[in-house]
């Protein structure tokens, strides 16, 4: 079964602008890690935001885990889509500790389950010793791990990552790429990763595509 199914998706920032995404289609199977490569301004971040529900397409449809989330006549709010996202700057809540950040997406669950999920996530990203820290007390790489754990904790159908390495030092990148691949594999997570760096895709992804992809250029 396809976890993500995008059909003929188009988007432009205003009515009169050239579409930044033009009749784009993509299917992703369970467990695939898709890398989307392209220069800045090619609409790759916008594609993630459309899947997440943070933008509304001008036409086309998106289906996630068999459920239609947007088309020309309906729109499902981002919080109801079962999509996780790691933002480029991580956007960890500055007024919450690591623990509270990760538990933030687990609010619907019983107390015990939340606790055990938290421990599981901390272990997955190897951050057990940092639960009481605040985001500004962590290094860039540690922040990224917390952001990843926070996005994975509610067990989304698909994980979106927007330039996850752009805020890290070059000498750290190799190691963290390797870790990320392991984490995603362990969690058996269907993912879409957007980047401008071919190396990211080569190290992590099972499948890649280039943007801008428009129906015209294909």
């Amino acid at each position: 079964m396809n976890i993500v199914d995008i059909q003929e998706l188009s988007f432009s920032f205003s009515r009169n602008d050239e579409p930044i995404i033009d009749r784009f289609s993509l299917s992703i199977k369970k467990g695939e890690v898709v890398g989307i490569l392209g220069p800045s301004g090619s609409g790759k971040s916008t594609l993630l935001r459309l899947i997440a529900g943070l933008e509304m397409p001008s036409s086309g449809s998106i289906t996630i885990a068999g459920r239609r989330v947007v088309d020309d006549r309906m729109f499902i709010q981002p919080e109801d889509r079962g999509v996780g996202m790691v933002f480029q700057d991580y956007a960890l809540f500055p007024h919450m500790t690591v623990k509270d950040n990760i538990m933030f997406g687990l609010s619907g669950l019983p107390r015990d389950k939340r606790k055990s999920d938290l421990e599981e996530m901390l272990e997955l990203v190897q951050m057990q010793d940092y639960k009481k820290r605040y985001p500004h007390e962590l290094s860039g790489g540690q922040q990224q791990r917390v952001a990843l754990a926070r996005a994975l904790a509610p067990r989304p159908n698909v994980l979106l990552m927007d330039e996850p390495f752009s805020n890290l030092d070059t000498d750290l990148k190799d190691e963290i790429r390797h870790d990320l691949r392991e984490i995603l594999q362990k969690a058996d997570m269907t993912s879409i990763l957007v980047t401008h760096d071919q190396k990211d895709v080569a190290a992590i992804c099972t499948k890649q595509m280039m943007v801008p992809v428009t129906s015209r250029s294909m």
Binding site: D72, M74, F75, E79, F93
Partner: protein, 548 residues
Amino acid sequence: MELDKARRYFQKECNGWWLISMVGAGVILLPILYVFLSLFQSPNENWIHIRQYLLQTYTVNTIILVTVTGLLTAFIGVLLAWLIASYDFPFKRFFRFTLIFPLAIPPYIAAYTYRNMLSYTGVVQSTLRNQLDIHINSELLTLTSVSGSIFIFTFFLYPYVYLITLAFLEKQSAAYIENARMLGQKPVPIFFKIILPLSRPAIIGGVVLVVYEVLSDYGVTSYFGVHTFTTAIFQTWFGMYDVDSAMRLASWLMIMIVGLVFIERLLRKRRRYHLPRQSRSIVPVRLKGGKAVAASLVCGTIVSIGFFIPVIQLLAWAGMTFHTIWDSQFFELLYQTVYIAVIATAIILVFSTIIANVTRSPSTFSYILSKIVTAGYSIPGAIIAIGVLALFILLDGWLAPVYEWMELGEAPLILSLSLVMLVVGYVIRYMAMGYNAMEVGFEKVGNRYTESSRMLGHGKTTTFFKVELPLLKGALLSGFLLTFIEIFKELPLALLLRPFNFETLATKTYQYANDERIYEAAIPSLIIIAVSVLSVIVVQLLDRRVKE
């Protein structure tokens, strides 16, 4: 197809937040529109009388006040901004800050302070007479109607021009001024050839604020007995109880303001300079000898007239009346003022937070909404007051059957005699202050935390309480302070909309002054001034924090 899309849009955007915003916009828009509608009703006898005998005087006086004050404040404001921005002289840092202080003295307080200081029995003439034995024609010093108002407005409103022009000169003009210096120009030609034309948009911006203040003034002009549109609106209501004519006057005043906005756009239109992006701060030139003394003297004189002299005089008067004024009744008055200001401010902040949250996502709709919300600030208090008053009387008329059913008597005035009316007036007038603070707050927080929270399964409202509210604390605090202080010292709305026997510090001060009980007015005046100085300091501190 389009209909489906519209429905999809509503599915995405329409929620409680949106609905409350619409209610807020409606509350603000309704009285203003109601005032405008009065233009299309057939006029009554009063109006015919007003139009025949009085309208011309109102118009001429208003135009004279606005034009002369505008020119004088522009002159003083730019002169000071130029001195402070481009030169170093003794006490400059002190003057840079204190030159703003005249804004902290409400013009009506300044008006009665100066009028009495300069009168025959006032401190100036009696000192001249008794100590120095100089007898002058007392007419010469007496502040009278139009010229007196212009004097007061000029010395207590020029900081608007000074502030905006100073900010412009300090940040943006270094390259031009230094270039002109390199090309061998002397300071005076630089002022006229470079600084004046370049800062035109800033000067116009400041003068427009001054003009708004003059147009909405009631305290100064009524104290000096000048007939303007605003005083006329009050007189038609208090003297003749003629709401229709008052509304008609208000709508004419509003047309003048729309005209003003139009003129402002026209004046600024072709003057949008592309200023150098990487602007350095200007390096001030050190003045020496006579020039330095002259510069200090100019600044010192203006800040003395605009702040220190009236404050010292008020302190002296306050000392004389302290034992009679400072009693439990006074605390009651203080409590009432704080009470109503806190209620109005709280309502304003709730609405502005909700509306600022809705207008975060850019669209034509949010642009219009933000314009409506901030409209009240550029509309004189008297217009808002008369609109609210008329609307509440209408509302009481509609509710008459309900009142009767509740056995409150036949067609009583319930709402229009209650505090609700004044609170609504405050909310309309000062919504802009709260909204601007919250808009900046949301801007600083950004969208990323909100988006993360929604990706983690929380809706708009939970996100607000769990994520945004804790991050907005600073903005809420500064918004609360600024709005509270404005309402605390507000005069025209309170005068027109307060219930019978309800007094605020400002209305009481005004009443003392009007009854020629000048000494008694000193203590409430000083409290208002102290609170306003606090607001000036808060604004400056916030400004500095934003810069960092």
